[in-house]
């Protein structure tokens, strides 16, 4: 994998420079990408599939919205802003951390032990072990939807809103990364409980891409203040679109995405550490 020669062959790097995790990350990801691009036909069909996945998610929203003038207090263009922000955030989070979703498989098959004995952080290996470029298809669709939505939604831009629109996809991606990480950590304790975690990861994605005001009040509160899914896209959209939020998601929560991402990531990293410490191999 990371033989000295492979590292030296990287573009013009000083062969005596210490090998940092960042260098390894670059190396691992570029190796992944090369191998995935090698089968061009299957790669393109996978990307097309991911675009289609994004498209059906949109049709799902459209199938509801086209029946009503406003959905959760938002017009079609405004719901598209929420959808676009959430899609970009989820695609990024899934790209980086989606692999931890199937942690129970990794544990059960003994793959985890292989990862543990290598002199690299387990998380780094997981993030690169299945760096699926095809997921970029979903990201592209989300980004396209977001751009169209921002143009259609008739927004009065000011510097604060531009700042918020810039940090929101990144904070959202961090929130989904943290949720995936927590989902992975949880499976160390409940090996058969992968579906538990889906309620928060994929449930979170579902909530994030919909107008929060359309949810039951307790669901609003839970998915804002416990699992910060509405902070990924809906709450910031309220600020960007100058809308008032529902009781469970007031408009001031629009700026909470980044702090929530930081806190949640910290907590989930602690949980992940505890999980790795708790793990006992079966001597495989």
């Amino acid at each position: 994998m990371a033989s000295p020669r492979a590292i030296r062959s990287g573009a013009g790097r000083d062969p005596h420079a210490p090998v940092t995790n960042l260098v390894l990350l670059k190396l691992l990801i570029s190796a992944r990408l090369r191998s995935q691009l090698a089968y061009r036909g299957s790669f393109l069909s996978d990307v097309a599939g991911q675009v289609l996945l994004g498209l059906t998610e949109f049709v799902e929203l459209y199938a509801i919205v086209h029946n009503v003038s406003t959905f959760g207090g938002m017009t079609l263009a405004q719901t598209l802003v929420v959808f676009g922000l959430a899609s970009v955030a989820f695609a990024l989070g899934d790209l980086l951390m989606g692999e931890t979703d199937s942690m129970s498989e990794t544990i059960r098959s003994g793959k985890l032990e292989v990862l543990l004995v290598r002199p690299l952080p387990v998380l780094l290996q997981l993030a690169t072990s299945d760096f699926q470029l095809r997921r970029v298809g979903r990201l592209l669709f989300g980004a396209a939807a977001l751009v169209v939505a921002l143009l259609l939604a008739d927004i009065q831009w000011d510097p604060a809103k531009i700042l918020l629109a810039t940090i929101t996809p990144l904070a959202g991606a961090a929130i989904f990364c943290a949720l995936f990480l927590g989902a992975g950590a949880m499976q160390f304790w409940i090996l058969d409980g992968r579906q538990f975690a889906n309620a928060f990861t994929y449930g979170g994605r579902y909530v994030a891409s919909m107008p929060g005001a359309a949810l039951f009040f307790p669901v609003q509160v839970f998915f804002t203040f416990v699992i910060p899914a509405t902070l990924v896209a809906y709450a910031p959209s309220l600020v960007i679109l100058d809308l008032d939020g529902p009781a469970g998601i007031p408009a001031w929560t629009g700026w909470l995405g980044l702090p929530a991402a930081v806190v949640l990531s910290g907590l989930m990293l602690l949980l992940w550490r505890a999980a790795i410490k708790k793990y006992t191999g079966a001597g495989g």
Binding site: S42, S45, D46, G49, Q50, L52, L53, T56, V59, E60, Y62, A63, I64, V65, H66, N67, V68, S69, T70, F71, G72, I190, L191, D192, G193, R194, Q195, F196, N198, A199, G203, Y206, V207, M210, A213, A214, L215, F216, V219
Partner: protein
């Protein structure tokens, strides 16, 4: 026939050992039920009464029945067969004295029989408490609903079975799998009832077997259709069942001719 009954029973027992998985599934299906129900109810409130023929309680019932039947009907599928084609283990299956399709079918029915209680009841209970359910008071819809559920389990099984069989021709079925899942989720009415779709999409959905895989049993069970309509819907299910059985048998026949297994 005896062999298939035993296969179904052993599959039931096998799934009954994964209790945590069943609890986790019921939990997650209930959370999704809460989210979906609130979205549909919010839209119906805005529209002022009903959308696509569904009133508020009817839409809630639709969501909760869908969430309850999701696992039993087998909407997640499994890729076990494709794995066996890839590894060559399929050769062992093909040399057995039972019919390949029928043996997997029997096992899937066994799985469905187990999934009904632990994964089906919790979402219904939560639904009854949170939004209320509108269930029919006569036995007819339940009887016909049972037949329709059996047909839908079989349709879902055959659909995924066909995707699995593609492994005879392609190295990696993942792309086809995902494509199928995405289209089936949308057109089966799992996400939103198909009658909520814009007209062109509704026409398209009705020309596919997908509504027969979920929306049909849910609508019949909820008593949304009268006796005659329900019988017609079950008839449509049976037609699709026949079509899929033929497709699967043809695929199996030509696919197994392509099969080359090295060594033994």
């Amino acid at each position: 026939m005896r062999a298939y009954w035993e296969l179904a029973k052993s599959s039931f027992r096998r799934h009954s050992t994964y209790r945590t998985a069943a609890v986790a599934g019921a939990f997650t299906n209930s959370i999704f039920g809460l989210i979906r129900a609130s979205l549909l109810l919010s839209a119906i409130t805005t529209a002022g009464g009903a959308i696509g023929g569904y009133s508020a309680t009817e839409a809630a019932t639709y969501v909760w029945l869908g969430q309850a039947l999701l696992a039993p009907l087998g909407l997640f599928g499994n890729a076990e067969l494709a794995g066996r084609v890839k590894s060559g283990d399929i050769a062992v299956d093909l040399s057995r004295s039972v019919n390949l399709t029928a043996s997997y079918w029997a096992q899937d029915l066994g799985r469905a029989a187990f999934d009904v209680l632990p994964r089906g009841v919790p979402p219904l209970v939560i639904g009854a408490l949170v939004t209320g359910l509108a269930m029919p008071g006569t036995p007819g819809p339940y009887l016909l609903g049972f037949v329709s559920i059996l047909a839908a389990v079989s349709l879902n099984f055959l659909g995924f079975f066909a995707i699995n069989l593609l492994a005879f021709w392609v190295l990696e079925i993942r792309g086809f799998w995902m494509l199928y899942m995405v289209v089936m989720n949308l057109l089966s009415g799992f996400l939103v009832p198909v009658t909520w779709f814009p007209g062109w999409l509704l026409e398209f959905a009705r020309a596919t077997p997908f509504p027969s895989m979920l929306q049909t049993p849910v609508d019949i069970l909820a008593g949304r259709t009268d006796g005659g309509e329900s019988l017609a819907l079950v008839g449509v299910q049976l037609v699709w069942l026949a079509v899929l059985v033929v497709i699967v048998q043809v695929m199996l026949r030509f696919g197994s001719r392509r099969l080359v297994v090295q060594g033994g």
